[in-house]
């Protein structure tokens, strides 16, 4: 057995002028939860599409479960499960029929087919709804059915492309419980893309991707050490004056946004009491937090990842609505 289940070497994908994936290399260990983090259009989905044989690389190599994604497509496809960013269910069929089709397509032996379908449906709490048409399912139920389907043939690697995009927080948490449970029970390797920071935190390792390039790859904890320092957010009655005072007093540059000022200090707990006592500008509120992956992304790329979040949810909603109307 190799010590990696996914191996990507110098992968490049061009669409005309646009370089969607720019010479990236990485490996994923069996049983690992590996997260791809980056804003929209960074190349996350393109990479997944190449790994799951839906798209051919312009150059470079990728192996999944020991099979080449270009030359051994059939074997790669048999090794993987997928939950796509956009729904990929047959809405005219029931939940059960969707799973039955999948079981046939993935050569799940007839002797265990029924039992496995029941198992995954119960795991995703969809057993009671199995005879209902998928078109009557809610967004969260559809995503759970897709997860159930992705697990049905016991894939070696489960690809999750933004698995919880546009879902409510409860459903997101539930889906995550299932994912972690699955890794525990089956040892499934999980490759996910996300731009939700709290989701990325659950991964064993994270690759941060921006404009098609890998800018960092490590455990969430070690990535946060790149920022290193604690982050102080402060609101004052005169932010301009406060920024000036911070510069003079602590030799550090504060960032201004609509929520006030933020700046970094090495040990926040000790810094804070002194800061409050000695600061001349009137402080309205102050808070201290450890660095998040958001801060890491900001530090590495100079841009915040979160700014796009709300508009994404709207986009996802608009997309679904568009589909429904076209029907």
């Amino acid at each position: 057995m190799n010590d990696y289940i996914i191996k990507v070497e110098n992968l490049v994908k061009r669409f005309g002028q646009l370089v969607a994936v720019d010479n990236i290399s990485f490996t994923v260990a069996p049983g690992e939860i590996f997260g791809f983090l980056g804003p929209n259009g960074a190349g996350k989905t393109t990479t997944i599409n190449i790994l799951c044989t839906l798209s051919k690389p312009t150059s470079g190599q990728a192996m999944v479960n020991g099979f080449d994604v270009v030359r051994q497509q059939r074997q790669v496809r048999q090794s993987i499960g997928l939950v796509f960013q956009d729904p990929s269910l047959d809405e005219r069929l029931t939940g059960l029929q969707n799973l039955h089709f999948h079981a046939l397509a993935y050569h799940v032996p007839a002797s265990v087919r029924k039992q496995r379908i029941e198992q995954v449906l119960r795991m995703m709490e969809l057993w009671d709804k199995r005879h209902s048409g998928v078109r009557t399912y809610s967004g969260g139920m559809k995503r759970r059915l897709e997860l159930a389907r992705g697990l049905l043939h016991y894939p070696k690697v489960l690809f999750l492309d933004e698995p919880t995009l546009g879902l409510d927080p409860q459903t997101r948490n539930r889906i995550w419980e299932y994912i972690l449970e699955l890794r525990q029970s089956e040892g499934t390797t999980i490759f996910l893309t996300t731009h939700y920071m709290d989701e990325a935190n659950k991964a064993d390792r994270i690759a941060i991707i921006d404009y098609g390039k890998l800018v960092a790859m490590d455990t969430p904890e070690r990535l946060k050490k790149i920022v290193g320092k604690d982050i102080i957010s402060v609101k004052t009655d005169d932010d301009e004056k406060a920024a000036e005072e911070i510069r003079l007093r602590y030799q550090t540059e504060a960032r201004r946004d609509s929520n006030g000022l933020t700046f970094e200090v090495s040990s926040g707990e000790k810094f804070l009491p002194a800061f409050i006592k000695e600061f001349d500008t009137k402080i309205l509120s102050v808070s201290l937090r450890s660095p998040s992956l958001d801060d890491v992304f900001l530090k590495l790329t100079g841009r915040a990842i979160r700014e796009e979040e709300t508009s994404d949810v709207f986009k996802a909603m608009a997309r679904q609505r568009g589909r429904r109307m076209r029907r």
Partner: protein, 240 residues
Amino acid sequence: MRMIGAIFLPLLFLFVFGSGLSSRMAMLSPEVNFAQFMFPGIIGMTVLMSSFMAGVSVVWDREFGFLKEVLVAPISRASVAAGKTLGAATVALIQGTVILLFAPLIGVSLSPWTVLGLLPLMFLLATAMGSFGVLLATRIRTIEAFQAVMQILMFPMIFLSGVFFPLQGVPTWMSIVTKLNPATYGITTIRQVILGASPDSPFGITLLGHTMSLWNNVAVLAVFGAIMILAAMRSFSTQD
């Protein structure tokens, strides 16, 4: 419901045009009036329109994302393309057969042998046209675009295949187009089977001075069908 929708239009054509025009048009041959002439054409049209649904179903699957699930499954894509075609061809065959049931109302008499001969013929026409639909669908991304292509291709194919009028004595340009139209060979064959296939019957076609026999027509259709299904399977396998 879809079934009723699919045979409604052909029946409308058959009874409205058939009854309306029969009395005003001269007999096309001693024993065939206009409705009877049109009847085999209507069967062919039903089969043709219905088999095109194979393509619609591919585009539909793409539009709703399900095609992705199919494309990433460890199954042969060529067999998926063939399956789409044969599935639609089966539905087309059933719909064609339903239209056949109306034969007595038109005054067309069918022997059991005629019906038995028609079944494989309808299936061949449906497979050929269904594959053509799938071939187009592999390169067309949206339902809207596919519908536009279908309108542009399907109606000329139907109108210029001899469904509604005999192909003898039409202007030269039209004669050339009808002979390039693969549907013509399907419609003509069905008509030859139902209304008789003697070489001097007025319903045959001549190609480059050669009067096409029933089997000649079947051969043309079969070759077209074979090319189409292979092209469809190939194109389906290489799409992404």
